[in-house]
């Protein structure tokens, strides 16, 4: 929805992505497509128990099977001491990470890896797994965050002590951390309120659900050089994690990223890479490929946290929020590190608050270790707070967008967790949503309702490096190291073309691995178009400066006398196009840049949804959906729209269907894509998008991250719509048919809105 004439030639257009043809012809090589000479196939033996001590492992029968080349257990992993590694969107204690990759003395969740096998083919490897004998002493388990906090709960990690507001506790616990953000005076704030709403929410564990399962191929040479091919959000992150986990120098590891079939945060942590490496070494330095099954992906790779969230907010009759309080309990899975910190940052981020307190708890439970999932922790938090905000507006008789506008943060306001906002676009986005035809369109019919919700995400800058070479024909080869998950080759190349003043088609980007470019952080945190965009902008400026010098040399004049504009170098009435000048270059022109930009600019979204509830079956149908978002500057609007639409779709799944279901023994019951029910084309309408462009002053082209914000509002927006449709406040995710039916039954019984 850009209205003013664009100052740009390339930015804002919608060219075909450079890797497009490879991806529509089946030619693109994804991780599972890798094939090397002499390659073996690896498989993982996983725990059938939620919590058990490993008494012994006997792999002799497996090793004796024809075609089996190696078996590894935790004994093959080097001992790792406590050390926190930064994964970009999350941090990890490497000792725990090692323990997660292969269980050391205890298995902590159903699906926890216990041993791995390399064999001639997958079928033999699977047969070998069935021959490994593991003796377990089954221990009591706990799946639920609240129950895990109870004093008599089974303890997962004997050495874990609570980090209680910065001070370490002295007794065994499942609570890894308690954090708090506080400002003002809650008692005073609530005393000033005319209406107060308090509710407790629960959200289920959900998975990123990328369609391509985890994979890794490793070759560990006799000389200690380790080669890895895998689909990952960050080749350099894989390299660093492996260096720590395997205790070898970073330089001895070369990671070559393949195409990646979705990540959403879930393909940052390594799972198979260290196993494939160890198997390769043990199997006589042959390459080993490992690919997870879907059941393994669901049971053993990072879902995101289930959570309990209590929110209490008060507001005056004039619509001003006077106090806000929240308590968030996030299930980290088997090892500490849930996104509760981010949840605490997101929960009240859209509102100016004088009196606020937020408490967060990171709790270990016998579920797979949580990994990042698109705006980690944000959807849970916004589901709770945006439902309460909606109820406050309702109680005050105010329009929900008007109520939000009255309290919306703007430049200079401070978030509860500290930082001061620079230029942000929440107000513009709320206004765009309010004036969208969807918001005022009549919605008639029984059991139909419209809901709105707001969402926030921090975004991130991270470190990026890139290199470009000017070819003799004036085209440019761009080498970058940011995994392209959703069209970023295009958005990066477009920024370089814009900077150089040459056509998009003249820049050919290539994503390379750790051996081909300087350090790059993961594609995550909505940072790539922003951060790697910054890097290629710097590259472009260096190239222009060098080219200008060459033009000056050609004309034999001081460089200051040569002007550069739109890819044309001019001096005293003479001119050379970029292409002409490139043809005259004797010494090649190349440039590299490494950047670590800080002013990434957070983003806000406002979603409007219409639903219809079938009160017999409890099924919720999404009739219409509109997502407005401040995107800073849309470099390639189609892919920006795509980010919004994809985030909404995942949010709809989280809101209505997706959840981990366990039996009483702690075994995951729905580890298939039939039973872990993600939205299909039939479950969704078209998803309308409104791109609000409030330029981020921290980027040369105004870019803000866009990928994560759109998954934050959907659950709350849908809950608010359901309330308008059937008069029931839903406080549990997913709002699946049985829960809707139960809520309606409660409503009938109580004769009041729940």
């Amino acid at each position: 929805m850009t209205t003013t004439a664009s100052p740009y030639k390339v930015i804002g257009t919608r060219p075909v992505r450079p890797d497009g043809v490879d991806k529509v012809t089946g030619r693109a090589i994804y991780g599972a497509d890798v094939r090397l000479p002499g390659m073996l196939h690896g498989k993982v033996l996983r725990s059938p128990h939620a919590h058990a001590r490993i008494l012994c492992i006997d792999a002799s029968a497996a090793l004796a099977l024809r075609g089996v080349h190696a078996v590894i257990t935790a004994q093959d992993m080097p001992a790792i001491s406590d050390k926190i590694a930064d994964l970009g969107e999350s941090t990890v204690n490497l000792r725990y990470a090692s323990n997660n990759i292969l269980a050391h003395d205890k298995v902590l969740y159903y699906g926890h890896a216990v041993a791995a096998v390399a064999a001639d083919n997958v079928h033999i490897a699977e047969e070998a797994l069935s021959l490994i004998r593991v003796e377990y002493e089954v221990l009591p388990h706990v799946l639920d965050g609240k129950q895990a906090m109870a004093p008599d709960a089974p303890i997962l990690l004997d050495d874990l002590r609570t980090n209680e507001l910065g001070k370490l506790g002295d007794r065994p616990t499942n609570v890894a951390e308690h954090i708090r953000h506080q400002r003002g005076d809650l008692t005073k704030g609530f005393a000033e309120a005319d209406v107060i709403v308090e509710r407790t929410f629960h959200t289920a564990t959900v998975h990123q659900g990328y369609i391509e399962p985890q994979n890794a191929t490793a070759l560990w040479n006799e000389d200690g050089q380790l080669f890895i091919w895998c689909s990952t959000q960050g080749a350099f992150s894989v390299q660093e994690q492996l260096a720590e986990l395997l205790q070898i120098p970073v330089s001895r590891i070369i990671v070559t990223p393949t195409e990646i079939g979705g990540g959403f945060g879930g393909k940052i942590n390594v799972y198979l890479e260290p196993l494939a490496a160890l198997l390769s070494r043990k199997a006589g330095h042959r390459p080993v490929k490992m690919v997870m099954t879907r059941a393994e992906v669901l049971a053993a790779t990072g879902p995101t946290s289930g959570s309990y969230i209590r929110v209490k907010m008060g507001a005056r009759r004039d619509g001003v929020i006077t106090a806000a309080e929240a308590e968030l309990i996030y299930e980290a899975g088997a090892f500490p590190g849930s996104p509760v910190g981010a949840g605490c940052g997101v929960i009240f981020a859209p509102y100016r608050l004088e009196n606020v307190q937020i408490d967060g708890y990171d709790v270990v439970v016998n579920r797979p270790k949580a990994a990042a999932y698109r705006a980690p922790g944000g959807t849970n938090a916004a589901f709770a707070s945006e439902t309460v905000v909606d109820e406050l507006a309702e109680k005050l008789g105010m329009d929900p967008i008007e109520f939000r506008l009255r309290n919306a943060v703007r430049e200079g306001d401070r978030r509860a967790d500290g930082p001061e906002y620079k230029r942000i676009g929440l107000i513009e986005t709320l206004e765009a949503a309010r004036s969208h035809p969807h918001y005022t369109a009549p919605l008639t019919g029984k059991h139909r309702g419209r809901g709105v919700a707001t969402g926030f995400w921090f975004n991130w800058g991270g470190k990026s490096s890139a290199t470009a070479t000017v070819n003799r024909d004036g085209t440019v080869n761009l080498i970058e190291g940011s995994t392209d998950i959703g069209g970023s080759r295009a958005s990066i190349a477009m920024q370089l073309a814009e900077t150089l003043g040459i056509p998009y088609e003249d820049v050919r980007p290539q994503v390379v691995g750790t051996a081909g470019v300087g350090y790059n952080d993961v594609t995550g945190g909505s940072r790539t178009t922003f951060g790697t965009g910054w890097a290629v902008y710097e590259v472009g400026k260096k190239i222009l400066a060098e080219m200008r010098q060459r033009a000056a040399d050609y004309w034999g004049v001081p460089v200051e006398e040569v002007s550069v504009a739109d890819g044309v170098f001019a001096y005293n009435g003479e001119s050379l196009s970029f292409r002409e000048l490139a043809g005259k270059l004797d010494t090649p022109v190349t440039a590299s840049a490494s950047v670590h930009p800080q002013n990434y600019g957070p983003g806000f979204g406002v979603h409007i949804v219409d639903v219809e509830v079938d009160v017999e079956t409890g099924k919720v149908t999404i009739l219409r959906y509109t997502a407005a978002q401040d995107v800073g500057k849309a470099i390639h609007p189609s892919y920006v729209e795509g980010q919004l639409q994809g985030g909404v779709a995942q949010g709809v799944g989280w809101a209505l269907n997706e959840e981990y279901v366990y039996d009483e023994k702690g075994r995951l019951l729905n580890a298939t894509l039939l039973d872990y029910r993600m939205p299909t084309a039939l479950d969704l309408p078209m998803i309308d998008t409104v791109l609000v462009e409030v330029a981020n002053p921290g980027h040369p082209y105004g870019v803000r991250g866009v990928g994560e914000v759109p998954i934050v509002p959907p659950a709350a927006a849908i809950a608010n719509a359901i309330y308008r449709a059937i008069g029931v406040r839903m406080t549990e995710l997913p709002m699946s048919p049985p829960r809707i039916v139960a809520a309606l039954a409660r409503k009938r019984q109580d004769g009041v809105a729940a």
């Binding site: 919608r14 992505r17 979705g262 998803i687």
Partner: protein, 156 residues
Amino acid sequence: MSSKVIVTTTINGEEFEFLCEPRQSLLEVLRDVLGFTGAKEGCNNGNCGACNVLLDGVLVNSCLVLGVEAEGRTIETIEGMAAGGRLHPLQQKFLEHAALQCGVCTPGFLLAAKALLDHNPDPTEAEVRHWLAGNLCRCTGYDKIIRAVLDAADAV
């Protein structure tokens, strides 16, 4: 291990002969034996459509077909969709509409959409959504995929 069977089949108009274990799925044979890695494995049990191929013109999940069942049949994979070096209109429209993000679901969607247009050249949005409900995409929210298919139908 049971003994292997010789299977003769036609893939994208070319005849292939291969040795197949009875337990191998068509997907495994295509990917690991014959090198047609355009068919993707997302679930291996018929829930995602990433492995779609056309078997005698009928859309199937190749993970649910046995390799030996290919005997004497005609298979069309994503690698055969751009005939004579020209992209199929569906492929072209997927590119123009930015109907793919990560692209791993794309081959399956393209073959499913082709099967649809082959027997219903002018589908409604509802028909497209219904037909494509066997294909999961986690990235796009389907909006641009549906638009690309409708646009391709107009173009065919």
